[in-house]
Amino acid sequence: MSRVRLLVGTRKGAFIITSDGKRQKWKIEGPHFGGWELYHLKGSPVDPDRIYASQCSNWFGQIVQRSSDGGQTWETVGNQFNYEGAVGEHLWYDGTPHAWEFKRVWHFEPSLDDPDTVYAGIEDAALLRSTDGGMTWTEFPALRAAQGEKWAPGAGGMGLHTIVLDPTNKNRIFVAISAGGAFRTEDGGASWKPINRGLKSNYMPDPTAEVGYCVHRIAQHPARPETLFMQLHWDVMRTDDGGENWREISGDLPTDFGFPVEINPHEPNTVYVVPITSDSLHYPPDGKLRVYRSKIGGEEWEPLTKGLPQENCYVNVLRDSMCTDQLDPGGIYFGTTGGQVYGSADGGDSWNAIARDLPAVLSVEAQTLP
C-alpha cells in the first residue's frame, strides 16, 4: 500500500509526518534542527529519500541540509549563494535603489529527472541551480536582467518563492517573485521573459506595468502545462497560454487576497485557495478557516469547512504551506501560522487536524511513497 510523507518546515524546526495510504493515522517525528527556521523542505521526484532543506537563522545565516534516507539523517551541503557578475540594484521599499544581497533560500525545487540537480529560489530574488547534490550553486543571471532594477520587496522580503519545472519541456521554467512578478524561460534559463500581461495591482505607480507584481504563488498541473493558476497579492488569476495572458477568476470568493494556490492531482480544473481577509489583516474572514475549491477552473467557488475551525480562528496560511499527494482520491494538506497541519483524504470535502501545536508552519510538501 502506498504511504504519504509530509515535510513540514516551521519557525522552530522541521517535522516529518507519515501515514499509510488511508491517511487517517499520522506519526509525527521531530523537530529536526530544533530552534532554526526551516523555510522549505522538498524531496526529489525520482528519489523521494533525497530531500533538500533550507535551514536559516537571523544569528547564523543560511544552512542547506540534505538527506539521502528520507529525513532520518542529514548532512550539511553548500551554503554559498553568490550572484553572477555585477550585483546591481533593485528598488527598496521606499522606491530608492538598493544593492542585491543574499538573505535566505525560500524554496528548493528538485529536478524532475536527477536527484543531484536542484533549483533554489532565494532572497534577494534570484534563481540558482546545483547539479552536484547541493554542494555548489550557480545563478541564472539572465533572470535578474529581466528588469530586475524595477523589482521591489514585498512585506516578507524580495523572495523568489515559486519554481515550476515544465514536465513536458525541460527548457521551460516558470518562476514567481514578490514583488517582481512571473517570468518564463524557454531556453533552460539563458533568457527570461516577464509574463504578467493581464495582472493589475493598484499599489504600483503603473498598475499594469510589465514587472513589479507581488505574485504569491503559481500552480501548474502536469497534464495541462499551458494552464497556470496564480494567487496574486489580490486576485486569483489564470492563464491558458503559458503565461502570455492572464485573466481574473476570483469570481464569488469572499476575498481574493491569499497566499497558496493548489490543483487537485487528478482533476486539472479543480483548484484550491485559502482566502485571507486582506493585505492588512492576515487572517481568515470572520474567524472562519475555509478552503475554497473551484471544480471548473475558477469563477465559481465553494467553501470547504468540514473539520476546519469555523469560529475564533485567526491564523494565516503561507504560500508554500499547501500541497497535494498523488493518491486517489487526492489528498490535500496545509499548515497554518498557528502550528496546525490539516489534511483531507477526499479532495477537500472533509478535513482532519494532523498536528495541532507545532511552531508556526512555513511550508508543507507531500511525498507519495510506494
Binding site: 530552534g35 537563522s57 537571523n58 544569528w59 547564523f60 545565516g61 550539511t76 551554503n79 553568490n82 543574499f102
Partner: protein, 100 residues
Amino acid sequence: MPTLRIQLPFHLRNLAKVTGEVPLEVDEPVTLAAVCDALETKYPPLLGTIREPSTGKRRPLIRFYACSEDWSNAALEAPLPEAVATGAEPLLVIGAIAGG
C-alpha cells in the same frame, strides 16, 4: 601551533556535532580571523555561520568575548590576548541575546 579553547553557542555546537568546549589548533598569529579559519576548516558546517560568506565580516548577531572583554568590534586581524592564545582562557562565541 597553539591549542585554544573555544566555547560555541548551542546551535553551532549542534551544527558542528560537538559538545562542551572545543579544543582548536590555530595558526599564529592568533587572531579572530585565524580562529574562524580554523573552526571552518575543522567543522565545515560552520562555514558562513560566524562570518558573512560574501564579506568575511562578523555576522551582526555574533559576539566575541575574551578575558571578560568584548572583542566583537575588534579587527578580525588583531592578536587575541595571550591568555586566550595559550589556552589559559577560553574564547567565547556568543549569539546575541534577542528573543523569538
